[in-house]
């Protein structure tokens, strides 16, 4: 018997991507009875689902962000590689390399396989397990940076740029705007790899998740709250804060701050200049153009479904490589990087 095409059993609904025989959603945007969550960013992990299946780390992140009672009435952990049958659908999670705990959802149904990758990246990241390509019939991908202008440079070079600026302006504070989950911890790790061993002062909004990362076994070195009482720490130091804080009242405690922003969007000058950023750092937790295409090739899927982002360019490029692309137009995804821009609230 011919295996059923995934479009017969995996579909989009207003709540999100739905597996019909398994009767569960992946990263639904509204409360649903049963959800599998790829990772803890707030556009993928929403509160108030019935049963939630995710990695141990993702569940811990969800509890920390939304409270024990809103992270799913029933919470079920599943380790990478461990298989689970849900109404005849075999479900496995594989690392996505995006943030700690991030996973691709591998679904096998009657000999046909679909992989929902969530958000992912291919660069090494000491704070999370690396992406594992899984051959499949349909690969569901993001397309955040799906234009050939997005080629992320080596993050070590970007950190080098930052450290040169710190050396040139030793009396000032470099304050890096970054997302609280994933980016902040990766930046700290990159700094540590480059030999930066000073205590890193953190905005209050970042502290909780950094502590959680440490509890989950990712060591980040000395961290300090960036409070007014700790002012002496700020001179010549690198401070991390949410993007919205780096140019607002909170930043007045810093020493002549140099506002920096770490995001894949920083590759485009106009995007960087709009926010008054003085030092753009092109460091992203998403796949860039080459990595998107390489990944689609590696998983050998004849069909690529695109959840959100710049799907037009990706579909065009995939067609030239003999892969069929299809835009799912899922709403509510992609906000995680939008929050990376300053001025988005106070």
């Amino acid at each position: 018997m011919l295996a059923p095409h995934p479009e017969t059993w995996l579909c989009t609904r207003p709540e999100g991507l739905f597996c019909k025989p398994g009767d569960f959603f992946v990263d639904p945007v509204r409360p649903v009875p049963r959800a599998i969550i790829t990772h803890g960013h707030s556009d993928h992990a929403r509160p108030d689902h019935g049963a939630v299946l995710a990695t141990r780390e993702t569940l811990a992140i969800m509890r920390a962000r939304m409270g024990e009672d809103r992270a799913g009435r029933v919470q079920q952990e599943i380790a990478y590689g461990e298989a689970l049958e849900i109404n005849g659908v075999r479900v496995t999670l594989r690392p996505a390399g995006h943030v700690l705990g991030s996973a691709q959802v591998v679904m096998d149904w009657k000999g046909s396989r679909a992989v929902v990758s969530g958000d992912y990246k291919r660069r090494p990241d000491p704070t999370c397990a690396p992406f594992e390509p899984v051959p499949c019939d349909v690969f569901v991908t993001e397309a955040t940076f799906a234009l050939p202008v997005f080629r992320h440079p080596d993050p070590a070079e970007e950190i080098g740029k930052l450290l040169r600026s710190v050396a040139l302006f030793p009396e000032r504070t470099h304050v890096i705007g970054c997302y609280a989950l994933g980016k902040a911890q990766r930046l700290i790790s990159l700094l540590r790899e480059s030999g930066w061993d000073r205590p890193v002062p953190l905005h209050g909004a970042l502290m909780k998740l950094c502590r959680l990362y440490e509890e989950l076994g990712v060591s980040l070195g000395p961290l300090e709250p960036a409070t007014v009482a700790n002012k002496a720490l700020f001179v010549g130091n690198i401070v991390l804060a949410p993007p919205s804080a780096i140019q607002d009242r909170w930043a007045r405690r810093l020493a002549e701050p140099v506002p920096c922003l770490a995001s894949g969007w920083m590759r485009v000058r106009q995007r960087a200049r709009q926010g008054g950023v003085e030092l753009p750092l092109v460091i992203s937790d998403h796949a860039d153009w080459d990595e998107l295409l390489d990944t689609c090739a590696e998983v050998q899927a004849p069909e690529i479904w695109i959840t959100h982002g710049r799907e037009e360019a990706l579909i065009h490029a995939l067609a030239q490589r003999g892969q069929r692309g299809r835009a799912l137009h899922l709403v509510g995804l992609g906000d995680e990087e939008i929050e990376d821009e300053p001025g988005g609230g106070e």
Partner: protein, 528 residues
């Protein structure tokens, strides 16, 4: 490595808003870049790099041959700037194992390479550079380089870095061509001060301090000479066997904007004066002069409709004789004698204003209403011509500013140190039942007032548009300004010169703020 280093410098300069930050970046460049790239970079920053440039179409063809047209179009739509799109999308060639070119090498090869070989040359460079260096290179070869630093700032950094007074650098600057090896040798103590050899050079100007009440009280009338303070542009005229130039206040060569004055520059002297647009003996508003200054090569029509002239008020050199050490009175006599002798076209001498007492002078100042006159200049009779702003020798004594009571409408965050404060204010006046914006001010307030305004704005925001907040139309600000001018570019039809916040009028309800008609009435001849 140098194109890359230079590209990194350019990128940092563009992103760094503060002057001190830019100075630091430039000093670092002078200290670390090798010769001759160091000087080629400096020339590019100072706008003095004469390059044979390539057409943008050349770059367009190169990238079209290397990319998919649909992806290029989508990328261009997203990025906006074409040069930046090319820099980002250019396919890396991991096999291209040549070293990246040096900056001086790029400039030299552009000059030497034939038009037919230019595309291959540029492509070979783009292949070995990173995206930010590709961007700088494309802008450089197509002539669209914007640097985020002025020539003056670059020279200031040169002075800071070498510990040499800026004035000394200015006096040799225009006598040495890029890459300025003789200047760097001199600044590093490895060579003599370069001799301009008769080439026209800029001599730093003597500047005035604003006169305040406490200073005024100490002035003794017989020690002082008075002139009108014209609302034009300060220029230095240098003319001699080596050529003629018009220099702006900051030592920029503005000769090209005023070709109509060139035929007058046949003498051998260095003069100080005010550039004005004058029609039938009447000095035109400043905005007319600005239109001339904005054009690098003004058309015949513009020259005819905005005729320029120079009103002289000092002489620095007569032939080879340096007069700067003479007292003001002696220089003035030399200026008048020189003028009587030379009779240059399109020039006159700014008259001295006779007065017997300071009280009489104050009355003269209060009595002037002509828009072309900003107030008075007071110059000490015995003062030598000293470059820079030495206190107590020259005073500028502006007319009292005009004021209006306007309503705060929008606020925007400032830059650099003020980036967490709403410090740029758009204010409006009543026209009928509606408020129309008439200007923007970002100075005049104290630190305490700024704190108060910032808090008030955050608590009274009604809408946000990106970095701009619209606020409740409730707060009245007393705005001081030097003059109002008609303007077709503003919705209200009027533009203010030097508006600043004089006071916060918490006591005044918005409905009692001034009307637009009141402002219009301050424009001489009713704003015809």
């Amino acid at each position: 490595m140098s194109v890359k280093l230079f590209a990194a410098l350019l990128e940092s300069l563009v992103y760094t808003p503060s002057r001190n930050g830019k100075l630091r970046l430039l000093r670092d460049w002078f200290a670390t870049a090798p010769d001759p790239d160091r000087g080629v970079g400096l020339a590019a920053l100072a706008g003095e790099l004469a390059l044979k440039t390539a057409k943008p179409a050349l770059v367009r063809d190169l990238v079209a041959a290397r990319t998919d047209p649909a992806l290029l179009a989508l990328s261009h739509d997203y990025v906006g700037d074409f040069a930046e799109t090319v820099a980002l999308i250019w396919p890396e060639r991991p096999g291209a194992n040549q070293p990246p070119p040096g900056l001086a090498e790029v400039v030299e090869l552009l000059e030497l390479t034939s038009k037919a070989d230019l595309p291959d040359l540029i492509a070979s460079w783009l292949d070995v550079l990173d995206s930010s260096a590709r961007f700088a290179l494309i802008k450089l070869v197509t002539g669209g380089l914007r640097v985020g630093a002025s020539a003056r700032l670059a020279k200031t950094a040169l002075a800071d870095w070498s510990g040499t007074p800026l004035d000394d650098i200015e006096e040799v600057w225009h006598g040495v061509a890029p890459p300025y090896l003789a200047i760097f040798r001199w600044l590093e103590g490895k060579g003599p001060r370069p001799d301009p050899n008769g080439a026209p050079v800029f001599r730093p100007l003597m500047l005035a301090h604003p006169l305040e009440e406490k200073d005024f009280a100490a002035l003794h009338a017989p020690d002082w000479r008075a002139e009108w303070k014209w609302d034009g542009i300060r220029v230095q005229v240098t003319s001699g066997p080596g050529g003629a130039r018009l220099w702006s206040r900051g030592g920029e060569d503005v000769s090209a904007s005023f070709p109509d004055l060139a035929p007058s520059l046949t003498f051998h002297a260095v003069l100080d004066g005010e550039l004005l647009v004058v029609r039938e003996g009447e000095v035109a508003p400043f905005s007319d002069l600005q239109q001339r200054l904005n054009r690098k090569a003004p058309g015949a029509k513009l020259q005819q409709q905005h005729p320029a002239m120079i009103r002289l008020y000092d002489i620095l050199m007569d032939g080879e004789e340096d007069l700067r050490g003479l007292p003001f009175d002696a220089r003035r006599a030399r200026l008048e004698a020189w003028f009587a002798r030379e009779r240059p076209a399109l020039m006159d001498v700014s008259p001295l204003i006779p007065f017997a007492s300071m009280a009489e002078l104050a009355a003269i100042r209060d009595g002037t209403r002509a828009a072309s006159i900003e107030g008075l200049m007071l110059k000490r009779a015995d003062s030598a011509y000293v470059p820079g702003r030495t206190k107590g020798l020259w005073w500028k004594w502006k007319r009292d500013p005009l004021t209006i009571d306007a309503v705060l409408m929008y606020a925007q965050r400032g830059h650099g140190k003020r980036s967490s404060f709403y410090s740029d204010f758009t204010f409006g006046l009543w026209r009928g039942e509606e408020l129309v914006p008439v200007g923007k001010a970002y100075s005049g307030y104290t630190d305490e007032e700024l704190l108060w305004l910032d808090r008030w704005i955050r608590n009274n925001t009604t809408a946000r548009f990106g970095p701009v907040r619209e606020v409740e139309k409730e707060l009245v600000l007393e705005v001081a300004f030097d003059a109002a001018q008609r303007s077709g570019r503003h919705k209200s039809g009027v533009a203010l010169r030097f508006p600043r916040i004089a006071r916060i009028r918490r006591d005044k309800p918005a409905s009692e703020a001034d009307r637009l008609e009141t402002l219009m009435a301050t424009i001489p001849d009713g704003g015809a």
